[in-house]
């Protein structure tokens, strides 16, 4: 662990955007997130809207009049977005831009709506992992002594547990109707269980990093000075330790988002994550692969969900690396 606390230094943003590739990555990521966020207001068919007449159609796209039943459903689920859409586009919609699947569902709509779920699960799971990891590392590092040793021992053991397998077992167990009912009574639907579980197993590295930082900070001269001036534990943590942690925390969080999104995609691909009719990129990728048969090859069902995943995870990883280098000049080569 580093002896010198890593802190936000001036010029981080400048160093970040000067690095080649960062600007395009930021732009691409912003576009993906924005499109997913406004998906309900875009003039597209609903992701679950089937249309046998255009089943397995290749990419193309044409304007047409939207199905009133779908518009009504959209107005029920997303009243604001539906109103906005009606204002701007009326009842026109653009169908089949990226093609359709074997049930005639619009792929562009499915990719965008799936992105909402994938990004949301990714963000929430990251948040869960941040809360647990920072809390764990902060307590272990600041209290120190026996408690520190015990808490880090737990982290060591947990590192060796094959969580992917345990999580698959856990989620399979939670599919049981009675247990699922009990979870729903606690206010936990399938999606909440998913991000809680994924976040709940992704905090180990964060805890280690934060503990190392806190150990270094605890012995830093300015903390000793604050202590000599009579500041108590909670005040030192709040005013001196936490503000100096955000650098590492932000860097590691940026790298956690693609990791947990990958995890979600993996679980959904196996049919253990988001459940149909819900859509996520993992489900779309799995449907795409299933659509490949000798009878017909709907390549767009494989390529576009994969592209969405690749763009999002790739830019996130790139930005995470760039942010780490920008915040930590010791690593600059």
């Amino acid at each position: 662990m580093s002896a010198v606390p890593l802190r936000a230094r001036p010029g981080v943003w400048r160093r970040l955007v000067r690095r080649p590739g960062t600007r395009p990555a930021l732009v691409v990521l912003a576009i993906v997130v924005a499109l997913a966020a406004v998906a309900p207001a875009l003039p597209l068919p609903l992701p679950s809207e089937m249309d046998a007449r255009v089943a397995s159609a290749g990419p193309g796209g044409a304007w047409r009049v939207a199905d009133p039943v779908s518009l009504g459903q959209l107005a029920d689920d997303h009243p604001w977005a539906a109103a906005l859409r009606a204002q701007v586009f009326g009842d026109a919609e653009l169908a089949g831009v990226l093609g359709t699947d074997d049930l005639g569902r619009d792929l562009l709509a499915r990719v965008l709506w799936g992105g909402r779920v994938s990004l949301l699960v990714g963000l929430l799971a990251t948040l869960v992992s941040a809360v647990v990891g920072v809390g764990w590392g902060l307590v272990a590092g600041y209290v120190g002594g026996r408690l520190d040793q015990l808490m880090m021992r737990v982290v060591d053991v947990a590192y060796s547990i094959p969580f992917l397998f345990v999580v698959i077992l856990l989620i399979a167990v939670l599919r049981d109707e009675e247990l699922a009912g009990r979870m729903r009574a606690l206010g936990l639907d399938r999606l909440s269980v998913l991000y809680l579980v994924i976040g709940g197993i992704s905090w180990l590295t964060m805890a280690r990093i934060v503990r190392g930082q806190v150990l270094a900070l605890r012995e830093a001269p300015f903390v000793s000075a604050a202590r000599a001036l009579g500041a108590g534990g909670p005040r030192i943590v709040r005013a001196h330790v936490l503000p100096n942690l955000w650098g590492v925390v932000v860097v590691y969080l940026t790298l956690t988002v693609p990791r947990v999104m990958l995890f979600e995609a993996f679980l959904s691909f196996l049919g253990l994550g988001v459940e149909p009719p819900g859509v996520s990129w993992g489900i779309l990728a799995s449907e795409g692969l299933e659509s490949l048969t000798v009878l017909g090859v709907s390549w767009w069902l494989v390529v576009f969900p994969g592209l969405a995943l690749a763009l999002t995870l790739g830019t996130l990883n790139l930005l995470g690396d760039a942010l780490r280098d920008a915040l930590d000049p010791r690593l600059v080569r």
Binding site: S160, V166, A172, V173, D176, L179, F266, V302, G306, L318
Partner: protein, 309 residues
């Protein structure tokens, strides 16, 4: 070198992890209220009682736990499969583990071959467009889920050019695409690690000496710089093997390969307690021993390393 004492401690550590993992699996599977034979159909209570008795599921939980642990640790007996009738978990694993291991080893070889090659290329052309290209590709490769890679490979090589068969495992050609899909993300990590390692080493004095005595760039790179630069790659092999084995959960499904991964997903979905937890146990043992082997190999490559950890 690693002393026998540390080796013994490490082996005890592996046993401890397995104990924790088995306990977690046991607790999880017995958290289901209905039990494995409650799949919606009405079964005659007498038949159900018989079934439970046959699979040792009617005893009180603590007793089941002790008996299961005893069987696993003392006799290496992982119990019967609840859904594959007349198969023991040991039999199922004896058939599927070699399949998964073959796939895993092939994927690891793919990862090493591509990763080391690309990393060396990038380091040799440091700062040039080849370097940028390789490193960009590596960032993309780390980000791509293996099922996306698999989808693209299938699209291109099975349906477009018809070079490879899609599913099953009847010839070595069936292994090509799954190994690439499984190994490529790890090739990306290895390329990064090897490039960084090489760049660090290439700045050392003894490399200059090797150059000064007239060796070609290639000889310096592979004969002198490669060995110390391999160290980060070697310590990555443990996590890589773990990742490859868990990645094969998905890849085995896509290519319909009858390995441990497909059995695990099926058994988890079908509440086949013993089989699911048997796979987890085998996986844990494999990964822990692989990590141990990696640490031993590390000590062999770098004599400065003490086996104190």
């Amino acid at each position: 070198m690693i002393t026998p004492r540390t080796l013994l401690l490490r082996l005890l550590g592996v046993a401890g992890i397995v104990l924790v993992v088995v306990t977690v699996c046991f607790a999880l599977m017995h958290a289901v209220p209905g039990g494995p034979f409650d799949d919606g159909r009405d079964i005659d209570p007498a038949i159900k009682a018989n079934l439970l008795a046959r699979y040792d599921l009617d005893a009180p939980l603590p007793q089941q736990y002790v008996r299961y642990m005893g069987n696993v640790f003392l006799r290496g007996d992982l119990g019967p499969s609840l859904k594959l009738r007349d198969y023991s978990v040991n039999q199922v694993l004896a058939e599927s583990l070699p399949v998964s291991m073959t796939l895993g080893v092939c994927a690891l070889l793919v990862a090493l071959a591509i990763g080391l090659g690309a990393g060396a290329l990038a380091a040799a052309r440091r700062g040039g467009w080849v370097d940028t290209l390789v490193m960009g590709g590596a960032t993309l490769g780390i980000s791509l889920p293996n099922f996306v890679i698999a989808g693209l490979l299938v699209l291109l090589f099975v349906f477009h050019w018809r070079l490879f068969p899609l599913t099953g495992l009847t010839s070595p050609a069936h292994l090509v695409l799954p190994s690439i899909a499984l190994g490529l993300p790890f090739a990306a990590s290895i390329a990064r690690l090897f490039r960084t390692g090489l760049l660090e080493v290439l700045g050392e004095d003894w490399i200059r000496t090797a150059r000064a005595k007239g060796l070609t760039g290639r000889a310096v790179l592979w004969r002198h710089a490669a060995r110390p630069a391999m160290l980060p790659v070697v310590s990555f092999l443990g996590p890589a093997l773990a990742g490859i084995l868990s990645g094969s959960l998905v890849v085995e499904q896509i290519f319909a390969i009858p390995g441990m991964g497909s059995h695990f997903v099926d058994s988890a979905l079908n509440a086949d307690y013993y089989l699911a937890s048997g796979v987890v146990i085998v996986y844990t043992v494999l990964v822990s021993t692989a990590n141990l082997a990696v640490d031993l190999g590390y000590a062999l490559l770098d004599p400065r390393v003490e086996g104190s950890t």
